[in-house]
Structures are given as C-alpha cells and as structure tokens.
C-alpha cells in the first residue's frame, strides 16, 4: 500500500491532518489502534456521543465532525492497526489481528498523542488503581463507571472526570489534589494568558461548582499519598490539612498531567529536549511540525502538551506543509490557509502556562520513596534505581546493565520519566544530560507469525520484544 501521507493515530491531530491533506489533494492512509476514530480524548465518539453525550459533555461531542471528516474516498482509515516500526524513508509496518503489513508514505505524520504522566505512589500497581484517563475511557467507550472511587493527583482532567461521574449518578468519594495555594498564587503571574483562554477557566470553575454541589469532599495540598490493599485497592491514605486521612474505596484514579507519547519519535532518534514548564521531554519540531528527518512530521500532544483543540490545529498545519512539500499547493496558498489556523492555535495555547503552573506534578511521585515500584513491568523500585546510580550508572540506558527497568512489554512508557528524574537527582546532572531510553522497534510486541504473514520482512530481529538499549 502507498499514500502521499501516512498518519499514525486517529485522535484530534491525526483526524484534522487527514482531512486537510485530502482537501489539498493528497492521498492519506491513517492507522489507528482502536476500532473507531477519536483517539483517547474522543474515544468512540461516533457511537457514544449520541448515547452518553449528556454525561460526557459538549467538548467530547466536538470530536464528531473530526471523525466525520475521515469519511472520504481518498482517506483509508485502517482500524485496529498496531504500528510497530517506522522507517525514516516512510515505510510503516503494522499489524491488524495478527497479520503484518507495510504502508509506504511519501510523508509520515506521527499523531500519537499523550500518555498519562507516570504517578508512582505506594500501591499504584494494585488492581483497582488506574489512570484517570482510563476511568474516562471506561465511561466513553463502555458506559462503565466506578462506583466507589477516589480521584488523586492534580490537573483539570480530575475535575472533568469528577463532573462526568457526578452526571452519571456515581460521584467520586473524594477528590484528593496535590497542588497547593502557593501554586495557585504563582500561577497568577500567567493570568494574562489565562484570561485570553478564559473559556477554559469558566469551564473549570463550572465543573468545580458541579462537584461541590454534589457534595464531593475535596482536599488540596495533599501529600504522603498511598494506596492500601493486599490483592486490590482498598483505601487511599494521605495527609492534608495536617491530618492523615484514609478513605475506603474500590477504585483509585491517579492523574498528575499528561506527557508526550515519545515512543514513535524516539524510535526514529528524533532529538528531544526537556521542557521544564511542562516537566516532560518534547521532540524538536519546526512551526509546521517537521522534524530533523525530512519525511517525518509530529503534531498534537506528541509534540508538546496543548490539549485536543490545539492538537487539531497543529494537525492542519502539518498537513498544509506536507502538501506544499509534495508540490500540491504553493507556499503562498499554504501560508494563506495557515494564518487563521495559527491564530486559533495561539488562542488554544494561551491558557497553558497558567495551567502548567497551577497544577504541577505531585512532587513525591517524581522522586518516589525507595520501596515504591517505578517500573511496573519488571517491578524495579526507586531504591533499585538509586542503587544503580550509587554504583556509577549515569543514564537510563545504562540502568539496563544493572536491572531490567524499561525492558518489559510497555518498553518504558510508564517508567521512563521517573527513572530519568531519579537518576538526574542522584547524579546532579540535568534531564537532557541524563537522556532517555533508546527506543528500538518493534514498538509493540510482534510475533513471528505476524512477520511471516508479511511480504516484506523488516530487518529488525523479531525476537526483540522490547527496547533493548543497543
């Protein structure tokens, strides 16, 4: 299969890019792991907006026109496609239901979005502990809502899921937030931007009012957060207002921000830089989303966290530049079409500095206690990582010589940032100096059968199931 533009990910950035590219005359193949378009923010929107739009809210239903935009003859939407290798020349290898295939894109857009920032607290590996994003996905896709849940961490997403749970008739037992009054005061410095993004503020306040009216207890400046339980989550304990609290529950939803999903870009060795304000690594891209690999673009939260509306605009910009690059539109036409898109993007991003400062990550989860597991797959603790550092380990790839962090099936997706933070703190190096896991294909485990089903076998050793630090 061939296409002018191969888009990886059918979230807001990918969907908008596909539609814009098609308008400019490009043929598009969009690969996505889910059965239906939407990404995580608009997960299953084509089915669920009608059924649960009242619970999920208008911002969710805003994904409908984007999903509808994929219904065009020049867009091939491959669903249930797991991408496991991307070559710099535009060959993208993927599997659907255990059958491997390759699509060649003259240009490739990585629109793989965000992951929840890992929030390693004691007990976070227990069944019943999930990311807040997972809690939302359960509501969106499946209409499944947690009956006795506590939400813990920081950020507007916690308010959104709390409000949605209230509307579903099962309010959370408590909202345990880690940000403090000092963070709010510090954020006021960015009030100008926040006022330009006033719609987000109004929404946040109205969600908070909804949560308060439902009588959901709310704690702030919480510390010492831990999940108790033996075989599953039984309670959340924490300190707030100088007192220790223990709330019995069956489900804990954790969240302290989202970070770019770097796996695809890292596998291509695209350079990343530490962004201190967002406390995450961000790939280096130009204002069109172009990377240092001429054929490869990145748009949306994967290029830096901006949220769904910003991702949509960034996807359009990347598509316009891809069309210009392939001589379908002139630079003038590109710039004319891009001007309103850039203005909209600026508007969406205006509120970010305020939000980033008002809802910083939970500090104790960035430098977890020694006994806390940081690598969920291989069950490596924070203390183990500190031990490696004491033995002279300076970077995350070196840790693999000492233990197996990052070598399990998730390939470091939920431990990478923690491991780097711990090493940086121990060695006194910066985050950029400390670096990140070298990610190698396959990006997801792939079997020999999947390779055998393909006509063109990629050169990588199929037995390598994880990023292996070569």
């Amino acid at each position: 299969m061939q296409a002018d533009l191969v888009v990886i990910g059918a979230g807001p950035a990918g969907m908008a890019a596909a539609a814009t590219a098609t308008e400019a005359g490009l043929s598009v193949v969009i690969l996505d792991e889910q059965a239906r378009a939407g990404g995580q923010i608009y997960r299953d929107v084509t089915r669920s907006a009608a059924r649960r739009g009242d619970i999920l809210g208008q911002d969710y239903s805003a994904g409908l026109p984007l999903a509808a935009g994929l219904e065009q003859p020049s867009i091939t939407h491959v669903t249930r496609a797991t991408v496991w290798q991307i070559a710099p020349d535009g060959a993208v290898a993927y599997s659907v239901d255990g059958r491997g295939a390759i699509v060649h894109g003259r240009r490739v857009l990585l629109a793989t979005g965000a992951l929840e920032r890992p929030m390693p607290v004691p007990g976070w590996t227990l069944p019943g502990v999930m990311t807040a994003g997972a809690g939302q996905i359960l509501i969106k896709e499946s209409g499944v809502v947690a009956g006795r849940a506590v939400l813990a961490g920081s950020g507007p997403l916690l308010y959104l899921i709390a409000a949605q749970m209230v509307r579903a008739g099962t309010p959370p037992l408590a909202l345990v937030e880690t940000q403090s009054r000092r963070d709010t005061v510090a954020a006021l410095r960015h009030l100008g931007g926040a006022l330009r993004g006033w719609r987000y503020l109004v929404k946040g306040l109205s969600m908070l009012a909804e949560i308060r009216r439902a009588g959901v207890p709310r704690y702030t400046a919480a510390s010492d957060i831990a999940v108790a339980g033996t075989d599953r989550a039984e309670a959340l304990s924490f300190v707030a207002g100088g007192k220790r609290h223990r709330i019995a529950c069956e489900t804990v939803f954790l969240h302290h921000g989202v970070v770019p999903n770097m796996q695809a870009a890292r596998s291509l060795d695209i350079p990343h830089r530490w962004n201190a304000a967002q406390a995450c690594f961000v790939p280096e891209t130009d204002p069109w989303g172009r990377t240092e690999i001429p054929n490869v673009f990145i748009a949306g939260d994967g290029a830096g966290i901006g949220g769904a509306k910003a991702a949509e605009q960034a996807g359009r910009l990347a598509a316009l530049e891809a069309a210009r690059d392939l001589d379908r539109i002139s630079a003038d036409a590109r710039d004319r079409a891009a001007a309103p898109v850039r203005a909209a993007l600026r508007g969406e991003l205006a509120v970010r500095p305020f939000l980033d400062r008002a809802y910083p990550p939970y500090a104790a989860a960035l430098q977890p206690a020694d006994a806390t597991v940081v690598c969920r797959c291989e069950e490596v603790t924070a203390g183990d990582i500190r031990g490696y550092a004491a033995l002279g380990c300076k970077g995350p790839n070196q840790t693999k010589a000492f233990g197996r962090p990052g070598m399990g099936p998730c390939q470091g997706r939920y431990c990478g940032l923690t491991v780097v933070s711990i090493l940086a703190a121990e060695t006194g190096q910066g985050m950029d100096e400390t670096g990140y896991y070298r990610v190698r294909p396959p990006l997801k485990p792939v079997t020999l059968g999947e390779l055998a089903a393909m006509e063109e076998t990629p050169a990588e050793d199929p037995a390598v199931m994880a990023a292996d630090g070569r």
């Binding site: 792991e33 889910q34 059965a35 995580q40 059924r51 649960r52 619970i55 249930r80 797991t82 255990g98 992951l115 929840e116 590996t125 227990l126 069944p127 019943g128 502990v129 999930m130 990311t131 994003g133 997972a134 996905i137 359960l138 509501i139 896709e141 499946s142 209409g143 499944v144 809502v145 947690a146 009956g147 006795r148 849940a149 579903a168 099962t170 075989d231 599953r232 069956e250 489900t251 999903n261 969920r376 797959c377 291989e378 069950e379 399990g408 099936p409 998730c410 997706r413 939920y414 997801k444 485990p445 079997t447 199931m465 994880a466």
Partner: protein, 104 residues
Amino acid sequence: MKTASPFLEIDADAARVTVRLDGADLSLPAGANLAAALLAAGVPVFRHTPVSGAPRGPFCMMGACFDCLVEVDGVTRQACLLTVEEGLEIVRAGPATAESADAS
C-alpha cells in the same frame, strides 16, 4: 462467576454472549471492550506478574501499559484492545503459571 463489581454499567442494554474465563462460563455484553466488560463483571485481577506473582488489572485502558494481558484463544493479548465475542476462551496467568504467560 459473577461477583459484586466495583463498576456499574450506565446503559446495560447490549445483547450478552457467553465467554469462558479460566474454564468457567461468563456472560458479557457482545461487542464491548473486553477489559471493560471483565471489570464490570467483577473481575479485578487479570494476571499475576512473572517477577513477583503480584496481581494486576487494567491500568491505562489504551494499550500502553500491558497490565491487562490475558490469554485469549491461546494467544497472549491486551484485553483492552479486544472486543467481546461469543465463545472467547480467556485464561489468566495465575501466580504459579506466570512464567508461561509472560508475553516475551
């Protein structure tokens, strides 16, 4: 097999089909996300880790964490990326058999 679930279904109107979980019949909504359906049916533990035998259940629901790995019709797969179909044979890795179910 069905136990009290910490999860509620908002619109439980889908036709139900029978799957087998560790050899026992379980009725789940047809076409539902398999991980979500198992959680709603009161199944919190999906596997035990190969390293320490600790119990695990779905964590991310978006195919990234691999904590929802179960064996479906003989192949180890992420339950959160699968759909409920009549007759699925689902086997969970117990503490003792954890090694054999390790995806690698």
